[in-house]
């Protein structure tokens, strides 16, 4: 059987879904990040000076872009797949001859595309406040895609295990947002005392943001190779766990 048609159907459905509700999906990050750039970058940033040789506005742009990619790739999959479960149209997929990896791949691809699209929107907003010259395009793009993949997968698992709409807001509010803010979006980890530096090194988002920052402006607090190892490890682990949940029908079948 030709599974590429089923895959394209899921991905297309996902893209149409978030484009149809663009005031909820694409507009808010543009407004929020414009405010970040204005307040933190322009008004406060001018008084902060430079970090690792980069102007404060240039320093925070990569983190804010990647933070948007993280939150929107996660939000897309968790809300879409949970709604599919809630409205019971998951049954359309379960009855159809679609392998689990195609279902997973379709939803995760939808999350990656929305995450990257929001990343492009935020990048365009940032161009109103600063000029961006890309230091390493390959690292920039690969980290963006890998990060979006990690958080799309995490969103998928959250949606499968969720039993109520409250369950799909707990992780974004109480895990993702704190880890993103503490992941060096607005500061260098080198500015922290040793104890907090060591704690921060256990935060995977710190690696992603710094690698992305290196790709854009050539400044990083971490080893870039380590970022690839961490994101690769997360992708493999989360993929296997997602497929296990789908195979067992946990959260979606009786």
């Amino acid at each position: 059987m030709n599974y590429s048609i089923a895959f394209r159907t899921i991905v297309t459905k996902e893209i149409f879904r978030f484009i149809r509700i663009w005031p909820q999906t694409l507009l808010p990050p543009a407004i929020t990040t414009a405010l970040y750039f204005l307040i933190f970058g322009k008004l406060i940033g001018d008084r902060i000076g430079t970090i690792s040789g980069a102007g404060y506005m240039d320093y925070i742009v990569p983190g804010i872009i990647l933070m948007s990619v993280i939150s929107h790739s996660y939000a897309n999959v968790v809300s879409s797949f949970y709604s599919t479960k809630f409205q019971r149209n998951i049954e359309e997929l379960l009855v159809a001859p679609i392998p689990n990896w195609v279902i997973l791949g379709g939803y995760v691809s939808g999350g990656i595309i929305r995450g990257l699209l929001v990343g492009v929107v935020v990048t365009l907003i940032s161009l109103l406040f600063t000029d961006i010259t890309v230091n390493n395009i390959a690292i920039t793009l690969s980290i963006a895609v890998l990060t979006a993949t990690v958080f799309s997968l995490a969103g998928f698992i959250n949606a499968i295990l969720a039993e109520s709409f409250d369950d799909i807001s707990i992780i974004p509010n109480f895990v993702l947002t704190p880890l993103s803010y503490l992941g060096g979006v607005f500061y260098s980890v080198n500015m922290l005392p040793d104890f907090w530096q060591n704690i921060s090194m256990g935060n995977p988002i710190l690696y992603m943001i710094n690698a992305f920052r290196y790709g854009l402006i050539g400044v990083t607090d971490v080893d870039i190779q380590m970022t690839f190892i961490i994101t690769g490890g997360f992708i493999i682990t989360l993929t296997l766990f997602s497929l296990y949940l789908l195979h067992k029908g946990i959260g979606i079948k009786n």
């Binding site: 089923a6 149809r20 359309e92």
Partner: protein
Amino acid sequence: MNALSLRNLRKTYNNGFEALKGIDLDVEAGDFFALLGPNGAGKSTAIGIISSLVNESSGSVSIFGHDLRRERAKAKSCIGLVPQEVNFNQFDTVKSILLNQAGYYGTPRKLALQRTEYCLKQMDLWDRRDTVSRRLSGGMKRRVMIARALVHAPKLLILDEPTAGVDIEIRRSMWQMMQEVNQQGTTIILTTHYLEEAESLCRNIAIINHGRIVENSDMASLLARLHIEHFVLDLARPIAAAPVIEGCQIERVTDKTLSVAVPKEHGLNKLFSQLTAQNIEVTSLKNKTNRLEQLFMDLIDSNPTGSKAAGDK
């Protein structure tokens, strides 16, 4: 060839409830088959397992010769499911619901568009193709689900109480549509609580109760087993008391209405002769209960605990 074969199918839920206690069932290709049973009997569990919505505890399911475990994609490709409750995305248009469904089954876009148009026209929904589905009436939503189940041209269509809660006019038009689909070669398995529906549409029948098949035969043979039929007679003139006729049980419902239980061997001609002899003129008669309903209740009542029955192999 069998469209569906179930062998020793069992399901025990996590809470310990044994919904299916090892059922065997064969449905021939081309059949219009009724799967009946009271609420909680195991019908929905059986359909859930056949359509991959419920994991079986043990046993096997074969669809047109394809084992559901070993040849999952081939087996699933043969099935179209119309569930009890609306389960499509109510924010999608009617057309996109069908196109997405066709896509899930690997139907190329051009063919999917053709099949979508055909199915929507067949269900009299083509004019509503661009309507957001949540704006449709209940009957239209039911028809959307049938059209969706047919869009990939399944060989086996499973209808799980498709006419529940729809008015009689829509129900009759849906019966006609189901018969047309069956005449075009699609095997249909129907579950319903409207036994008149099963009696008029289906050729073969299985009755499930307490997780076991308690009856599995063709409709004609089953109905032939009905020994006593119940009728309501309307009379031309009022009567003061119910007449006494040997072999029949007669109750006076009103002064111009009688309820009569007539054994098959007694016959209606003899009954009418006996009533005429007592100067009672009958103007019309109707079945008090649907014949299948009578048998269904007899079978369920005779097996209240779900003990192993003769039909349960």
